[in-house]
């Protein structure tokens, strides 16, 4: 405790504190003159603190006067000054290092946070290139059997667009990414927002069919009379070669259906068509669906009220 205090306090005052404790006499911190008379301190020790160039008000951080001009100091007094100077210098260095480190961490925090979010998907960052879309999986399997992907395009009746595939089919290797194009033309005189759904048959290929980037489920606005080419980057996962159910599967049909878009109660864009038509476009024509919350009719029986 004493040494800590002595690092910060003025040397002469600290030395007097140490003297207070060493004499084991009651020592009160008073003004210099009354203190001198009250306590029993030998005279020659007081003489140090009254040295003309080094009064007790001198701060510890000030450099001591040059050795030649000051009176000859006892050796342990000089080394104590040096020790304080060294300690203060090291304290200054540590403080400067902490400040520089703090500023550096502040600058590094932005890219580090971005990397953390990309790795963990924190705060809603979309995880791209993970799972079945990892770079290692997108490598074609040489000399494997080829799978023909046929393309089909439909439009809803309420949508005055022509929507056709630009190629009939593409023969791909498992694991190989390839492009396909669709052409859409807005025949009406108004700007229309369309939204597309897709479907893959047969069902057993569905877990292996991956789309890297496409144009489905997102609003696509076509100006009146505009014609545009829509690309699609897809691949068939190479695990299809190991699936016994897909052993003799050579043809796949990829079918897109374009609907007019409308906003639902939550403000999301959805196809502007009856629900069963939308589900049929996604391959669920044979499935019986529970009606959505807004379409449910109220039941005739009331639930029993709690008594």
């Amino acid at each position: 405790m004493n040494s800590l205090r002595s690092a910060f306090l003025r040397p002469s005052f600290a030395s007097t504190l140490r003297l207070c404790t060493s004499t084991s006499r009651p020592c009160r911190i008073q003004a210099f003159s009354s203190w001198r008379t009250a306590t029993h301190i030998p005279r020659e020790r007081i003489a140090w603190s009254r040295a003309p160039k080094y009064s007790w008000r001198t701060m510890a951080t000030e450099t001591p006067p040059p050795r030649a001009s000051s009176p000859p100091q006892p050796p342990h007094r000089a080394s104590r000054q040096q020790m304080y100077a060294a300690r203060n210098r090291s304290l200054l260095m540590y403080t400067a290092a902490v400040i520089v480190l703090g500023v550096g961490v502040t600058y590094a925090a932005v890219p580090l946070y971005r990397m953390f979010c990309a790795a963990t998907g924190f705060a809603g960052t979309p995880k791209v290139g993970m799972g079945k879309f990892e770079a290692e999986r997108l490598v074609p399997v040489e000399n494997a059997r080829r799978i023909k992907v046929h393309f089909n395009a439909d439009t809803a009746d309420a949508l005055p667009w022509t929507f056709t595939p630009s190629q009939r089919f593409v023969s791909v290797l498992p694991g190989e990414t390839s492009l396909a194009f669709y052409k859409a033309k807005n025949k009406s005189s108004k700007d229309i927002i369309g939204i597309a759904t897709y479907n893959v048959t047969p069902d057993r290929i569905a877990p292996y069919f991956g789309k890297v980037e496409c144009f489905c489920f997102d609003e696509q606005k076509l100006l009146a009379g505009e014609e545009v080419d829509m690309p699609l980057l897809f691949f068939i996962d190479k695990d299809v070669l190991e699936d016994p159910a897909c052993r003799n599967l050579d043809d796949v049909v990829l079918s897109y259906t374009f609907f007019r878009a409308r906003r639902n109660a939550q403000g999301h864009l959805e196809p502007d068509a009856p629900d069963d038509v939308v589900q049929a476009s996604q391959g669920f024509a044979d499935y019986e669906m529970a009606p959505r919350a807004e379409d449910r009719k109220p039941t005739s029986e009331d639930s029993p009220k709690p008594s």
């Binding site: 791209v128 997108l138 490598v139 593409v170 759904t197 893959v200 496409c214 696509q220 505009e226 691949f235």
Partner: protein, 104 residues
Amino acid sequence: MSFGRPPSISGSFQATPPDRGSFPLDHYGECKDHMKVYLDCLRKNASNSTPCRHLNRDYLDCRMNRGLMDRDEWKNLGMSNVDSKASATKDDPHDASVKASPSS
């Protein structure tokens, strides 16, 4: 998803979203030439995708240059082993007939 589909159907078709979302529309047809070259190559090669992969790379490169696609490494798009030579050399009809796969 916002189309109200039941989540409990497994093994059959599940419309998973695309990994990178949606391509922005090419309203001005800036990459239409690359698309035409690719479709011609497909026609010549009996719709075999392997000989035309370098044209895939050209088309995606065109999109990235025009701001119609986020720039990304080729290996993340599955095109790390494709060298994008100038399409003129590969579109040689004589070349294509040699490359046509015997299975299709």
